[in-house]
């Protein structure tokens, strides 16, 4: 098994150029996501989706302008992969999560399962799509297109262990420089998704960037759900039996 590979997106040095969005679209042949002026910010893609696999968020605040390139988190415990009924979603040798478009039948279950709102169904095509962490480039020994194109190295690609060490150093450095609001997001293997393969350095609360502050993989609670459903199924059977026995 190859090492687990991932992204460390350091938003403190993102300049909002959207080169990642463009490189991703070109390499992966992702169709356009509409040409809409949202009139809220410099953001013109809005959110991650079937046709947006890198999304640069812009948040204007007093005295500063936050920019952050969002992407699929490639969770350790990935809800999309857990709930996929066809096996179209699978875990690669790089510990990333990828949809096999020749298997996906467009059931749409992965879409509401993702705690980050990443994966989506492309309606004109019927299948689910999201970031593959450039699986084809990785197999060819190349780094993902977005990381390659990033002019400031805000998007770093590499073995996850190295990225985590590097990120911890970076936070320490920023804190020493007085940027006390710098914090890592998603890197902890103890979080509700077992740690993400793509994690971030943020300068504000996650929800400011449209990220959930404490996401959970929904399948964590699946045994409890089946227990309650089992109780309900037995109650149904008992209820029907009672209705007949009362009358015979």
């Amino acid at each position: 098994m190859a090492e687990r590979m991932g992204f460390f997106t350091d938003t403190s040095i993102c300049i909002g150029c959207k080169a990642c969005e463009v490189a991703c679209k070109e390499w992966n042949d992702v169709p356009d996501d509409g040409f809409v002026f949202r009139a809220t910010s410099y953001d013109n893609t809005g959110a991650l989706g079937a046709d947006t696999w890198r999304h640069v968020a812009f948040i204007e605040q007093d005295g500063r302008w936050l920019m952050s390139s969002d992407v699929c988190k490639h969770c350790t415990h990935a809800a999309c992969l857990d709930v996929c009924p066809t096996g179209a979603l699978f875990r690669t040798e790089f510990d990333t999560v990828v949809v096999q478009s020749d298997v996906c039948n467009g059931c749409g279950y992965c879409v509401p399962a993702c705690p980050y709102g990443v994966i989506d169904r492309r309606e004109r095509d019927g299948r689910a799509w999201k970031c593959t962490l450039c699986y084809d480039r990785l197999r060819g020994g190349l780094e993902p297109a977005c990381a390659k194109a990033c002019p400031t190295d805000s998007i770093r690609f590499g073995p996850l262990d190295e990225l985590r060490a590097r990120a911890a150093e970076r936070v320490e450095r920023l804190h020493a420089d007085g940027v006390t609001e710098a914090r890592l997001y998603g890197e902890s293997p103890d979080n509700g998704v077992g740690g993400t393969g793509a994690f971030f350095l943020l300068l504000d609360e996650p929800e400011t960037y449209g990220l959930p502050p404490d996401p959970v993989v929904t399948t964590r609670d699946l045994p409890a759900m089946w227990r309650w459903a089992g109780g309900a199924a037995l109650a149904l059977a008992a209820g029907v039996a009672a209705c007949f026995l009362r009358r015979t």
């Binding site: 968020a57 809800a79 959930p212």
Partner: protein, 318 residues
């Protein structure tokens, strides 16, 4: 975010990215998904009724129940397949059996249940191989309750707060609704003198559906708000009135055809409203970032962060 006057939980002052949703709303369409939920539940409960009716000698009711169970599973499957983004690939559902996916478990359950109920109905109509037909109907008493309950797990096993947080009550709401649906369908398709148990099932189902819905609304707090507001709220309220009214009428529906028709139609409409309302509440719950962010922010503030205990790293596929 604009504040709502009827908000039940005090505004926790959360932040968001321009009010945009954090999670994606379910992409499932109307009427496909909610109608499948109704038909699958009705079929599941009807197969249980068919098996009990056969054992207790209610042969006229057993025939109608077998027909309803087969029709519900058959027509429901069509709705489910046309709901897919790639209907021509529906057989991929049976590519593997995956216990971590309620949709995989459901697909196999539906395949088994659909087959069994079709055999039961075909045998009852043609009179061919009655022993096989009886055996199939008896077996569908096992797949039936699973059919009626699994759809609750299907919805709860998502990041949608209104569904996930309702994991305890949704199964009872859905099996109650399934009982009411099947009871109503059989009241409408069986001569009154033979439909006594069907009326009893309808009453019990309506009571269970109403009780589960009320418990759910009481326990959920903020996560349950989407069931009370907007279109979902109107559907859930309509469901409550139709189900309660129809259930009460069912207690006296043995007296006349008109009462039977009124009761059966009201319960059926109520069950449909429940299914449409639950889907709509899920959409509303996903659309407003409040429902995702506020509970998670509370956990962060309390230092009670989510974790996944006891689950090791998944193996890598070679």
């Amino acid at each position: 975010m604009p504040k709502r006057r009827d908000e039940m939980v005090p505004d926790a002052g959360f932040r968001s990215y321009y009010g945009q949703p954090v999670i994606k709303a379910p992409v499932w369409h109307e009427p496909h998904m909610p109608v499948y939920l109704y038909l699958g539940g009705m079929s599941g409960a009807a197969s249980m009724i068919a098996a009990m009716a056969r054992v207790t000698g209610h042969d006229r009711l057993a025939l109608a129940a077998r027909m309803a169970a087969a029709a519900g599973a058959g027509v429901g499957s069509v709705f489910l397949i046309t709901e897919l983004g790639r209907p021509e690939r529906f057989l991929n559902m049976l590519r593997l059996f995956k216990p971590s996916s309620p949709m995989s478990v459901g697909s196999w359950t539906l395949a088994a249940h659909g087959g069994l109920t079709a055999i039961g109905a075909a045998s009852a109509v043609t009179g061919v191989l009655p022993a096989i037909g009886d055996a199939a109907t008896a077996a569908s008493a096992v797949t039936g309750p699973v059919m009626a309950a699994y759809t609750a797990v299907l919805l709860a096993d998502t990041a949608v707060p209104a569904w996930h947080e309702a994991m305890r009550e949704l199964p009872f709401l859905f099996t109650g609704s399934a009982l009411a649906s099947a009871g109503a369908a059989l009241m409408l398709t069986t001569p009154r003198t033979a439909a006594g148990p069907a009326r009893a099932v309808a009453v019990a189902g309506a009571a269970a559906e109403t009780a589960a819905g009320m418990l759910m609304a009481r326990r959920l707090g903020l996560a349950g708000e989407p069931y009370r507001l907007g279109r979902a709220g109107r559907l859930m309220r309509a469901s409550r009135m139709l189900t309660l009214g129809g259930g009460l009428l069912a207690t006296m529906a043995g007296r006349s055809r008109a009462l039977t028709a009124l009761s059966g139609l009201a319960i059926t409409a109520g069950a449909l409203c429940t299914r449409f309302g639950v889907l709509e509440a899920g959409r509303a719950s996903a659309a407003d970032p409040k429902y995702t962010v506020v509970p998670q922010r509370r956990r962060v503030a309390a230092g009670d962060l989510a974790s996944v205990p006891g689950r090791c790293r998944p193996a890598t596929k070679p």
